[in-house]
């Protein structure tokens, strides 16, 4: 919402400076996004008188002027304007002045051998208009030497205010003036409303067939108007609001909208056939709007139509076919009330924004139809002449007298701000609220005020939020209690463990392409309005995002990429917190000590998965490896990690080589995905650990090597050995694995921990026998 200070003063009697007003506007919730003054660029230009004008000795089309710019010295200026003549008053720019219209800074220069010390300017050179046929000629009483902007009334600061969606009343300058007056910046002037006497019945009958969308339509015809450019004052105000003047009739309707937040529409009666009807659009009906675009309408949209066609998307935009033009002689004026919800729905569906829509969808003042129409008619008659018809008053605007029972103590209790009741009453009254004891009646233009909290806000914002005392929250005695939940703590530990293990944390999009999702089993959630095909469905896995990020890094020249992400997978049932890690490129780079570069293997992914599962509190000793990670993984080099037969807590391994083709995945990339919400909560335990003293006796170790069946998982052998004597065997570690002519050899170091007495040879021999027997059950043979 833009308007100038001069315009504001039409409604507000104030001596406050533009800066004071801007500060106050922001302080009361009407945020000033910009305070600008178009005159600042024109500050150096002064009113000057041409004393003499003689032909340039060297050029037919130039004149040499002497100019009095109020400096006391005549100034010589070379001028090419045909209208320059002795005795005229114009606008002078001295040397050093920047000319906005030509983007040049004036210098003292010799033009065809004659010195020129400044310039007499045209409208276009000052960017005040399009005229460049000659220099500006001012009336004879213009005071020589004064700033041109001051003389011409251009020194008029412009406010650009961001009006929040609840404040329809401030979508007009008068509403803003009312707020300012309430906040102590001046006094709101009374609003003169002209008395319009219609001398003939309205020749355009009005009907409402869709009272839900358009409950009221007030109208009036004005015959014999003369349309043309609007007067200078009106054009200046519209320009300050960022609007381009079009013609008097259009400008006046726009002006009333900007001045009072009251949209209106003018139809050229000559272009109508029959009366105007506010009705629901017919399915498939179209209208060519004033923006020269055609819109297809739906039955929930309210239109204004004549007997033949739609002329107006009610409350949003008029039609091209019945708009006023310079030839318009008779106009029909529409001041209607459109239902906000319907306007919002229609505007959203059509993707059509307009100044009218932004006001109707916030809800215009339902009690300001008749006065609005009178003000509009009055301006038309003043500016365009013509005879007004009688008022056509169809339907009833939804005027609601809302009353709020207000406890003035709420201002302190909710707003925290101590304002005497008398002052609160004064503030509310100045905003238009009517007070009767504790009953506060809301003005018709304040649709947003519904309850006591709204009144607290009114009092608080007009008093100033800077007056709200900063009040500490109550603090529980003692040290602050821990607040993080188990899963939050677990996530923090997992994250920092991953970083400590050399992984860089990425955050990638929650949405991926449908193609990517399909490779990972497809997405249950498809965006109806994605911003691109790449970001279209909610990810069922974190890997596509990491694969793409790894690819980008390698393409940028990275040797080694270690990424992880903690985020959600979006499955049909719910969102699953997940960690994924991806390793691509070199595990170790070529090195003077270790030799050639080493690539990542599935065991790097396994090590990462186990470390992070442990950090997440999973009982890693109980994990079982199942070779069934699924189709996105290398079928022979991947596995899931399970707790019991059903609970899959992670998948890891080498990515399926097919992903290199489908997703441009880096060759040999390994990864792991941890399903954090599948990890069972550890049994609750106290802070104290179980009792422990290091054993007094030293552990001993014995090596065993077995030839095993080719398909025996090593883990099965280790578990079997461990199970051979659960008391004595405290660790089994595989340290060698190689092919012998007899089969695969696995060698293990078994740690035996004596309790209170050293093992006898017999005991050790007995344990060894049990170990061998356990291994043999799996088809393993002790190598001798």
């Amino acid at each position: 919402m833009k308007f100038s200070l001069e315009w504001l003063k039409q409604h507000l009697d104030t001596n406050a400076s533009a800066e004071e007003i801007a500060d106050k506007l922001t302080a009361i919730g009407l945020e000033v996004e910009e305070l600008s003054n178009p005159a600042e660029a024109l500050a150096p230009f002064v009113v000057a008188k041409v004393l003499t004008a003689d032909k340039h000795p060297q050029a037919d089309k130039l004149q040499v002027l002497t100019v009095d710019a109020g400096t006391g010295e005549p100034i010589q200026v070379v001028c090419g304007a045909p209208n320059a003549h002795a005795g005229m008053l114009g606008v002078f720019g001295p040397p050093g002045t920047y000319i906005p219209g030509t983007d040049l800074t004036l210098k003292v220069a010799a033009i065809r051998g004659v010195d020129s010390r400044g310039m007499m300017c045209s409208s276009r050179e000052l960017e005040l208009g399009d005229d460049h046929s000659g220099i500006i000629e001012l009336p004879g009483d213009a005071p020589v030497g004064t700033a041109y902007t001051a003389y011409a009334g251009l020194d008029d600061p412009v406010f650009d205010v961001a009006v929040t969606p609840n404040r329809q009343d401030c979508m007009g300058v008068r509403g803003i003036a009312r707020d300012l007056a309430a906040a102590g910046i001046g006094r709101l002037k009374p609003l003169p409303v002209p008395q319009i006497e219609g001398s003939f019945p309205c020749p355009v009958p009005v009907r409402i067939e869709d009272p839900e969308g358009c409950p009221a339509f007030f109208g009036r015809a004005v015959k014999g108007v003369k349309n043309g450019p609007s007067p200078e004052w009106l054009q200046r105000r519209l320009k300050s609001a960022g609007q381009r003047p079009i013609s008097a009739l259009v400008d006046i309707t726009n002006y009333v909208m900007l001045d009072h937040g009251r949209p209106a529409h003018a139809y050229d009666i000559a272009k109508l056939s029959g009366g105007l009807t506010a009705r629901a659009a017919k399915p498939g009906e179209t209208v060519l709007a004033l923006n020269e675009k055609e819109y297809r309408l739906e039955p929930y949209m309210t239109v204004i139509a004549d007997d033949r066609q739609v002329h107006d998307i009610g409350g949003i935009m008029g039609g091209e076919d019945s708009g006023v033009s310079d030839a318009t002689a008779d106009v029909m004026l529409e001041v209607a009330y459109f239902t906000p919800d319907r306007i919002a729905r229609t505007g959203q569906a059509l993707g059509l924004t307009s100044d009218a829509r932004s006001r109707f969808e916030r809800g215009v003042d339902p009690a300001f139809l008749e006065d609005g129409l009178a003000i509009l008619t009055g301006l038309i008659i003043d500016i365009c002449g013509g005879e007004p018809s009688a008022l056509e008053r169809i339907g009833h605007p939804p005027i609601e007298q809302r009353t709020i029972r207000f406890d003035f103590g709420r201002t302190k209790a909710l707003g925290g701000i101590d304002v005497p009741e008398a002052r609160q009453r004064e503030i509310l009254a100045s905003l238009g609220f009517a007070l009767d004891g504790a009953e506060v009646t809301v003005p018709t233009w304040r649709r947003d005020a519904e309850g006591p909290a709204d009144l607290v806000e009114e009092v608080a914002r007009i008093t100033g939020y800077d007056q709200v005392p900063s009040t500490p929250l109550d603090r529980a005695p003692g040290v602050a209690h821990p607040t993080a939940t188990r899963s939050q703590l677990s996530e923090r530990r997992v994250r920092r463990t991953a970083a400590a293990r050399g992984l860089d944390e990425a955050v990638t999009w929650s949405f991926i392409s449908e193609a990517e999702a399909n490779i990972f089993g497809g997405s249950d959630w498809v965006l109806a309005n994605p911003i691109s095909e790449e970001l279209k469905v909610m990810r069922p896995s974190l890997l596509p995002g990491l694969i793409a990020a790894a690819r980008r890094n390698l393409d940028r020249g990275a040797d080694s990429v270690r990424l992880f992400e903690i985020g959600r997978r979006y499955l049909g049932d719910r969102e699953h917190p997940t960690l994924a890690l991806l390793l691509a490129g070199d595990r170790t780079r070529r090195d003077w000590q270790s030799g050639k570069a080493v690539r990542f293997t599935a065991f790097d992914a396994k090590a990462g998965a186990l470390a992070l599962l442990e950090a997440a509190g999973a009982p890693v000793d109980n994990l079982q490896v199942h070779p069934d990670a699924g189709p996105t993984w290398h079928p022979g080099r991947s596995a899931t990690l399970r707790l019991g037969p059903k609970t899959v807590v992670a998948s890891f391994g080498e990515l399926h080589p097919g992903l290199q083709r489908t997703l441009d995945a880096p060759a040999g990339a390994v990864a792991a995905e941890l399903y954090l919400d599948a990890i069972p909560a550890p049994r609750a335990s106290s802070r104290a650990r179980s009792a422990y003293a290091p054993p007094a006796l030293q552990a001993i170790s014995r090596d065993f090597a077995f030839v095993v069946p080719a398909d025996l998982p090593a883990d099965a052998l280790l578990r079997a050995i461990r199970g051979a004597d659960k008391a004595a065997i405290t660790a089994v570690r595989l340290f060698d694995r190689f092919q012998t002519p007899d089969g695969l050899s696995l060698a293990c170091e078994v740690t035996l921990q004596p309790a209170d007495k050293s093992f006898t040879d017999e005991q050790i021999s007995e344990i060894s026998k049990r170990i061998v027997a356990a291994a043999e059950k799996l088809g393993a043979k002790l190598r001798t």
Binding site: V507, N553, E575
Partner: protein
């Protein structure tokens, strides 16, 4: 004469010569061994006179040999070590170090600061119903704010299912926290949010933190204090100044936009001081209808809420200037702007790293 013996030891040139001397003196038929043996043949008086001398001589010789031996060994070691030089300017094996994303770090900082104020961390789904994302927050259908938020809608999964939305803010967690824990409530809710907006300064996904307090006598003054306290702690400066401006959010009444003062340091805008204002968060007193939608009696309970961009907080504190880079996974950027694993924010150590 011991001196002569000691000279013999000192004259040896290597371990071998020393060993010969040792054998010659202390061996089975060595000179001193012979003297010791001779003691047995002496009469008691002579033995009493000679024994200490002979023993002292043996002691001196033994010590001298041991010292000489040590000297030879030291010299030998020195000689060997002189050949064992390595170039320690050669690089050590690479060690890998990872990083924590700035968004995660800032979330941990927020959790730490607000834990001290008694707030816990609440969570909620990112795929939300329209009820939680809009309606319960006092944004009924066709509310202009509902369109303003550039919402992502999801395709219905079954015919007639009301479309879910990607939450446009963290505010739905207010309702969920209210429903699940009842009052009083002191929570923050950080997380991903989505708006269908993409340009130089907006990404379709970003992070917000919601603050939500419901209790019996909470006022706008408590909101002001909480935000001041939070921002001072977060930016680790005492000269952080706030400006609250009346504004509008459907879910709060009264509502306030909060600006923070900035100043120029080395050509860069930093939080602190007051050379200008920038908007950092939206806030207000929770709307009575929202309290009711939490399943609480708005005549009994009241409170405040605020929402703030986490990515933006990170940018303001740590100086990144491109939001898009947050979501690219560029390891160069992550290593530059990320945090070490042990940079855990703590109150005693400071919440900044």
């Amino acid at each position: 004469m011991p001196d002569a013996l000691l000279d013999r030891i000192a004259a040896t040139r290597d371990l071998q010569e020393l060993e010969s001397v040792r054998v010659a003196l202390l061996g089975k038929s060595g000179e001193i061994t012979a003297k010791l043996k001779s003691l047995g043949t002496m009469d008691p008086d002579a033995r009493a006179a000679e024994a200490p001398k002979i023993h002292a001589e043996r002691e001196a010789v033994t010590t001298a040999i041991a010292e000489r031996k040590a000297a030879f060994e030291t010299a030998e070691l020195d000689r060997r070590l002189a050949t064992e030089t390595i170039d320690l300017s050669l690089p050590a094996p690479d060690s890998v170090s990872g990083t924590v994303h700035p968004v995660s770090q800032v979330m941990d900082e927020l959790a730490e600061i607000f834990a001290d104020l008694g707030f816990s961390v609440a969570e909620g789904p990112e795929i939300e119903t329209q009820w939680y994302n809009f309606t319960a927050l006092n944004m009924p259908e066709n509310h202009p704010a509902r369109a303003m938020q550039d919402t992502f809608y999801l395709e219905p999964r079954t015919p007639g299912e009301e479309p879910y939305v990607l939450r446009t803010h963290t505010s739905p967690v207010q309702i969920r926290a209210g429903e699940s824990q009842g009052a009083p409530i002191y929570v923050i809710a950080p997380g991903r949010v989505y708006r269908s907006d993409s340009d130089a300064t907006h990404t379709p996904m970003f992070h917000q933190v919601e603050g939500f307090v419901i209790d019996k006598a909470i006022t706008l003054g408590h909101l002001k204090w909480t935000l001041e306290t939070f921002l001072k702690a977060f930016f680790e400066r005492d000269d952080v100044v706030l400006r609250m401006r009346p504004s509008y959010f459907p879910f709060t009444e009264p509502s306030a936009e909060v600006d923070v003062g900035w100043s120029l340091e080395k050509g860069r805008r930093v939080v602190g001081g007051c050379e200008g204002w920038m908007e950092v968060l939206g806030s207000g007193m929770v709307h009575p209808r929202v309290i009711a939608n939490c399943g609480l009696d708005p005549d009994e309970w009241q409170g405040f809420a605020f929402g703030c961009g986490i990515d933006r907080l990170a940018m303001l504190k740590y100086g990144m200037d491109d939001l898009r880079a947050f979501f690219d996974g560029d390891i160069r950027w992550l290593k530059h702007y990320g945090f070490r694993a042990l940079d855990v924010p703590t109150l005693s150590g400071g919440v900044g790293a």
